[in-house]
Amino acid sequence: MSFRLSSLVRKTSCIPLTNSLINLTKTTKTIRTTSWLTSRKFATVTTSEPIKYKLPESSFKAYECEPPSLDIEFTKEEIINMYRDMVLIRRMETTADGLYKSKLIKGFCHLCTGQEAACVGIEAAITRDDAIITAYRCHGYTMTRGAHPRNIFAELTGKVTGVSKGKGGSMHMFAKNFYGGNGIVGTDNATFILYGDGAANQGQVFEAYNMAKLWDLPAIFVCENNLYGMGTSASRSSASTEYYKRAGYIPGIQINGMDVLAVKQGSKWAKDWTSSGKGPIVIELVTYRYGGHSMSDPGTTYRTREEIKHMRSTNDPITGLRLRILDLELLTETELKQIEKDVRSIIDKAAQDAQNDPIPDDSELYTDVYAKGSEIPIIRGREREEFRVFSNQ
């Protein structure tokens, strides 16, 4: 018998918010995307001695548990990779914004500009065997989970090289152990189950809290609170905006989601929590999106331009880490500029390559609706010549 609920609980495994579950067997699927991030190295960076650092007091708030320690350690290589990843995502999203405005991306497009510290911080705390399930704002996670920006751009522009063969688009991206873009939620080894402050009011979140606690599953619920659920501020939609307390019977911590080091420390702490058999935990990442909910939302009708400007100038996750790198004299201004320049050329090339990629073959329309060999007999087309008749019937 391979399945033992009780033994599972010991492993960092997980539960889907409503949608996920127990990761017993590792997925062995071949993933088209390459894990280019893991193999990337910087010429200027060498592995170095751990650097000790103290996070600000305001990094965490705890509910029914001891908060994570403010004392952290990191290597130069690690912090520079985090910086580079955030810049990559920022540049990718900015480029996607441009592609949308030049009508190359059609349909919905949810950018995570401003929220880069969330996906990069979580990824830095976990391994490739851990799983993440996110909601729609998934471009950043898709990249940190290993997808190349070219495949992300290709998905956004409906190309065959897209992470979901161009059939999903902005909200439906996947990679190994990344059960991504789901309606609402999240999954497993340590499983991070993500949802926004808007979705936090969905009943299914509470169904998942209940089952996770009832069975003491190692689920890490992560509420990415960007202060607005689409066009409604958290305080106008939620009776309690202390999202880390909202499971009641599950302890939680609130993390400054604009500080990638705090996100990493909090995520690592959460993974340790579930790994040690204490059951589920709730994390609230307080963050901010600079753009609208989607491209059709200017993002300024329900909040002021001043607020956005203020957040950008005082809380930006990239600027914040940049200042720390300079303070700690890990890199010079020139070296940082070089990283930004390299990123720009990677992203520009990725966008260009994606634009040159072919659109999927017509047959993709009816591929993967059902398992190969057990399809329904006929999928209709406009006329008989277009009907797809599956021969296995």
Binding site: S2, I15, L21, L24, M211, Y370, S374
Partner: protein, 385 residues
């Protein structure tokens, strides 16, 4: 045994030991006399669909519908180590006894209870299936599947497609008791197949008898697509027949011609088959020389267009019956497809005999369901047009 969820929901009272409650499954007179019920072992084994499974030399056992479903799940747990079964109250057998004894054999890690949380149950099942498990989720009544509608339609049905084939939930099967039961009222009587038939990516199966249920359930569990398996709950005890003890499957997407005829094609599925059998008997008795063909669809999605088209091309007339309300019911899809394919052969308008376009009424149940007389009327109608 503690009061089950079913009892609580229906507000039964157990006042004294002398008064036993009405059976939750209700009564369906006439099933035991049906010609389609396999009353002997020979009868059960006289089935060409079983040929390839090597069960024809094996034993048979008299079972009712819940026992044969139990048998199919026992075989699954024994042969597929990734299989798990869960739902409300399933650990002690479930309100309809379908999982009776499975916890004792396979343990509580493989057969376990969940909270009353249908969306959560299906979400949990999707998660397990996406990790490679065979996840058999029970929704206690098909009427309570609606909280899980989003999970089924948006998550399960589209998992393979929207991930470009990276992930799938092929191991997912949702079982749910459905249809009229005699006293179910609004929330214990519905037939929701029509809602889900609108969803590419899932399959829907409804068996009519114990032998059928076992083979169709095993095939559904092993089919690598998410499947909704609806069990007409009135048949759980009412339908008793000889069932092969071995491991066998019946084909999905294939209808079965239960009775050949030349004048009218009559199509149904699930418990409605027995109503149609009696309606045909009545019609053939009253209308001299009439011969009707009865088809059990068995799989609703994908339904067996070829068999029905072939039959209507022969008879020129079609009557379809189901309990769900008529408007946008599955009969509408059948009628349209047959009109497209058999237009020049049709001798009369296609007749649909369905539930009325009202909620399922407790006191008017006998009036609401497409009973023998109404089905007989429809047959008469297409003949006399």
């Amino acid at each position: 045994m503690a009061t089950s969820v079913f009892d609580r929901r229906l507000n039964f009272s157990f006042s004294s030991s002398t008064q036993s409650p009405p059976p939750a499954e209700g009564f369906m007179p006439g099933v035991s006399e049906s010609r389609f019920i396999k009353n002997t072992s020979e009868d059960a084994l006289n089935n060409r669909e079983l040929l390839e499974f090597g069960v024809l030399d094996g034993e048979t056992k008299k079972m009712n519908l819940f026992q044969s479903i139990n048998d199919a799940m026992r075989i699954t747990l024994a042969t597929d180590e990734t299989a798990v079964i869960f739902g409300e109250d399933v650990a002690f057998g479930g309100v309809f006894r379908c999982t009776l004894g499975l916890t004792e054999i396979f343990g509580r890690d493989r057969v376990f209870n969940t909270p009353l949380t249908e969306q959560g149950i299906v979400g949990f099942a999707i998660g397990m299936a996406s990790m490679g498990h065979t996840a058999i989720a029970e929704i206690q009544f098909a009427d309570y599947i609606y909280p899980a509608f989003d999970q089924i339609v948006n998550e399960a049905a589209k998992y393979r497609y929207r991930s470009g084939g990276i992930f799938n939930v092929g191991g997912l099967l949702i079982r749910a008791p459905c249809s009229a039961v005699g006293h179910g009222g609004h929330y214990h009587s519905q037939s929701p197949e029509g809602y889900f038939a609108h969803t590419p990516g899932i399959k829907i199966v409804i068996p009519r008898s114990p032998l059928q249920a076992k083979g169709l359930l095993l095939a559904s569990i092993r089919d690598r697509n998410p499947i909704i398996f609806l069990e007409p709950k009135i048949l759980y005890r009412a339908a008793v027949e000889y069932v092969p003890m071995g491991d066998y499957e019946l084909p999905l997407g294939k209808a079965e011609i239960l009775k050949s005829g030349k004048d009218v094609t009559v199509v149904g599925y699930g418990s409605q088959i027995y109503v149609l059998e009696n309606a045909i008997r009545m019609a053939e008795k009253k209308i001299s020389g009439l011969s009707c063909e009865l088809i059990d669809l068995r799989t609703i999605l994908p339904w067996d267009v070829d068999t029905v088209v072939k039959s209507v091309n022969k008879t020129g007339r079609l009557v379809i019956a189901h309990e769900a309300p008529q408007t946008s019911g599955f009969a509408a899809e059948i009628a349209t497809t047959i009109t497209e394919n058999c237009f020049l052969r049709l001798e009369s308008p296609i007749q649909r005999v369905c539930g009325w376009d009202t909620p399922f009424p407790l006191v008017f149940e006998k009036f609401y369901v497409p009973d023998v007389i109404r089905c007989f009327d429809a047959i008469k109608e297409v003949i006399e047009f």
